[in-house]
Symmetry: C2
Subunit: 514 residues, 2 copies
């Protein structure tokens, strides 16, 4: 199939991209964030050295399990690890040495070249929520997600100026068989948006399908020579790498596609009930996973992932936007940079059931930590609700709007002569007013970030217009964006080839719903 | 009156404090925050030097107005400034030299000595919202504030664990004549709470009343030898110091009481429409005001204040929680530290009309910036709504709860052997579970910060309990706190003397409502 796709691709060429550039109804998308501000670092050198030394001790003395994966055990044995059953004990220094082969920064191509992203170094790329089985909307309440919901979220992502990435499983389309979902999901990202996207990870064969579809969209040579997918590979914390996730990682790494090696940790349950202990385990897990990716293919692009929440010891629920979660994010960012790896963490994380004030506090706590903590790839940047069980339409546009503030914050403080504004201060003088002065007239349009969503109206106007809260304003924005949506142009030959591929693969498989 | 108060104080002694310690129904209050984390600094050395040089240029070339205040003009002339009419041009270096006399850190006594606070250096003291003419509650909607509202906010502040300070004008008691409000307000802070408080600033004579009442509460010698009030003196930006505010500052500085010299700036209207330009003006204004306080009394405690919002150029409304406001906060903190002054900024600032998601995002943006930006005194820490026009009962307890997260974040990341948790990692191993391990059992109660308000329940429980949003949860907490409120013990002699003073002063004045 890869060959057929290649042929078809050769025929259609880069026409889609050229047409996208010519298109009249272009949707504005901001360039990925490049930080022109320092980072916040919560750990001092001594703390970092303790955690790094402990991480090596965990790898060497406790080890990690590579379950049901003889090939992985062979690779590790060959690399010099001590392999006993499924347990892999990695000698001090080996994992870090292997991690050094991974690039510190890489480009993920989008089919619209203007929307390709750089991941690593000073950059921050924002992708939407990933994984919720439920959706919520102001009018429809909370219910199981469908493929129609999925498509609507992809459309909203395409329309969101501050979102750089179309993401992956923006919600679980529960009306599609589990073994076929990845096909419909990827087709939606490829056809309804022109932003970069993530591949499926629920089975190695499904990852292979995603690579094949990417080859249809981009051409086989482009895929092998570039990264066109960044996919989420969770670690089964503590310290376990299962055969499905590692099989997926193998497929992507072999094909030069990026994986986020991401411990999924509820602190106190899957890691120690302390920040330093959790960071130690996260570091050991990421080093083992990233090192393994390098054993599969030296130089394979990877991301140091950290998804950590704390646990509420009263209810056992994971909690979000807490100070410990921020401390872990800040600390993990430092550890990632010392490993020379791009860093994934953060997101619009909250535990609230509704897009209410709790959601706002918790989300903003995490978004701010992600910006200042050096996150390079921010999954869950918008739409996350109820601990990730729910993708919320309203919260999607609320969060996506807040991402604009991060862009402005990241740009830093200009101090050129215009920014110094000494002429304005001289012109206005004591007791004067800046609204009418020349400097203000010249700069007011771009000087201050402005929300496209939040309420800035006088009380009386707001009251007359129905005294709407943020959820109500967001619901109106969701409707307006979806009504205005137009698909980005795509070469009809490519679109047809993608459709054919999906139809053919579906026909080969019986439906499976679990 | 000062003398009578002193005599009465001598008779009653420190009984109130001793009784407070013995009291059975003590309300837990956290010690002020001491940061064990680094600060975030958005400006580099070059930017700081540009802004500092420009600040001196503004003082020397543009100057500041000290309106309708011949005594101030005399003081400035004597200090070496160039005074023309009301315009005071301060030679380069003079203001900074005068600022050096102010302490970099001072203690504000509370009548309960356990609740005295340190302001400056690594500390952060949280005080509630200040100034709103309106209140809002879930059941009562939005209406003009009354003295009963005021007392209820003081009670809530007293009951709030993470709030260190009782504040000042928590709302404007509009049912009390303007010229008498300060008496009732101060009486409420002194009798309904035992936390430190702020004095009135609407007239120099009212500031003098506040000093007299403080002398009754603490004893005259204690007041003259210590700081027992920290009061808010706004600058009329741009670059104007009016006679009322400066008269108030003179009263407090002469009596060794602290003033926050605080430019009140909507960027783009009262300062240039740029971060660097606004910081330049803020620095010039604070230096002039602090320097003047030192001319009144060398060594008078002062705080470098910065209340800055950006303007929405569409509606003209001030906006909150924006990236530019955070940048100004971070930059002003750096400038304050380089001047060696305690720093005031931040707060639970938002523009939203309701305690909804917008309020949550904007507030959290500012609270996080305040913590990482080195704020020492955070006015408006809780209860602020609608750009400060409204004091919200629900948001008061919502914000006050979030202050707990700041305490935990500020404590930093312990890396002692227990925090490293290596024994736990060894005990649990790959694929295990930390919930039951010895380390978790020992530490889970204190390991992670837990909200006292937000919803962490399973969806089904939350749904059965009425699917309440944050505002509804907060309304219930407001009711519960007020129902449980008991006044902290106060020496009956002191209480009587305070009441007598207020009654006598009121009898001397006709009512004035504007």
């Amino acid at each position: 199939m890869g060959e057929a796709a290649s042929r078809r691709r050769a025929r259609t060429g880069g026409g889609a991209a050229r047409r996208a550039e010519r298109s009249a109804h272009r949707v504005e998308t901001a360039r990925f964030i490049e930080r022109n501000i320092p980072l916040f670092e919560v750990l001092d050198e001594a703390a970092l050295e303790i955690i790094e030394a402990n991480g090596e001790t965990v790898l060497q003395e406790v080890g990690v399990n590579f379950a049901a994966n003889p090939a992985a055990l062979d690779r590790w044995r060959e690399a010099g690890a001590d392999v006993q059953g499924e347990r892999v004990r990695i000698p001090r220094g080996l994992a870090r040495e292997l991690c050094a082969h991974a690039p510190s920064r890489f480009t993920q191509l989008a089919r619209n070249p203007e929307k390709s992203v750089e991941i690593g170094g000073d950059t921050m790329v924002c992708a939407p929520v990933y994984g919720p089985p439920f959706v919520r909307s102001a009018t429809g309440g909370r219910r199981y997600a469908t493929m129609e919901d999925f498509r609507n979220f992809v459309k909203l992502g395409y329309m969101s100026k501050w979102l750089h990435h179309s993401g992956g499983t923006v919600c679980e389309p529960t009306d599609i068989p589990v073994n076929k979902r990845h096909l419909d999901m990827l087709l939606a990202h490829m056809t309804l948006s022109d932003k970069p996207f993530m591949g499926g990870v629920t089975e190695p064969s499904r990852a292979a399908d995603c690579v094949a579809m990417a080859e249809i969209l981009f051409g086989a040579e482009t895929v092998q020579a570039n990264t066109v997918m960044t996919s989420l590979v969770n670690v089964n914390s503590p310290l376990t790498f299962d055969d499905v996730m590692m099989g997926v990682l193998e497929v992507y790494a072999r094909n030069n596609q990026a994986c986020i090696v991401s411990p999924f940790v509820v602190g106190g349950a899957m890691s120690p009930v302390s920040v330093a202990g959790t960071l130690t385990q996260v570091l050991a897990e990421v080093m083992a996973g990233v090192a393994y990716a390098q054993l599969v293919r030296k130089g394979a692009p990877v991301i140091f992932g950290t998804f950590v929440t704390s646990i509420d010891m009263n209810s056992g629920a994971p909690t979000f936007g807490t100070p410990e979660a921020s401390q872990i994010l800040y600390g993990a960012g430092q550890l990632a940079r010392r490993l020379g790896l791009p860093f994934r963490s953060g997101g619009a994380l909250c535990g609230s059931k509704l897009p209410d004030a709790q959601a706002g506090y918790e989300t903003a706590n995490t978004l701010n930590a992600a910006l200042l903590g050096g996150v390079n790839f921010m999954l869950h940047s918008c739409g996350w609700l109820e601990g990730g069980l729910v993708a919320s339409f309203e919260k999607f546009v609320m969060d996506a709007d807040q991402l604009g503030a991060l862009h402005k914050m990241a740009a830093g403080v200009p101090t050129d002569m215009k920014a110094q504004a000494m002429d304005a201060i001289r012109e206005v003088g004591p007791g004067g007013h800046y609204l009418g002065c020349a400097h203000t007239q010249e700069h007011f349009k771009s000087a201050f970030w402005r929300s496209d969503l939040l309420d800035y109206k006088p009380f009386e106007t707001w009251d007359e217009e129905g005294a709407r809260d943020t959820q109500a304003l967001a619901a109106a924005r969701v409707d307006s964006l979806l009504a205005r949506y137009e698909a980005p142009p795509l070469d009809p030959g490519v679109a047809e080839a993608l459709g054919d591929f999906v139809a053919a693969r579906k026909a080969e498989m019986p439906d499976a719903f679990s």
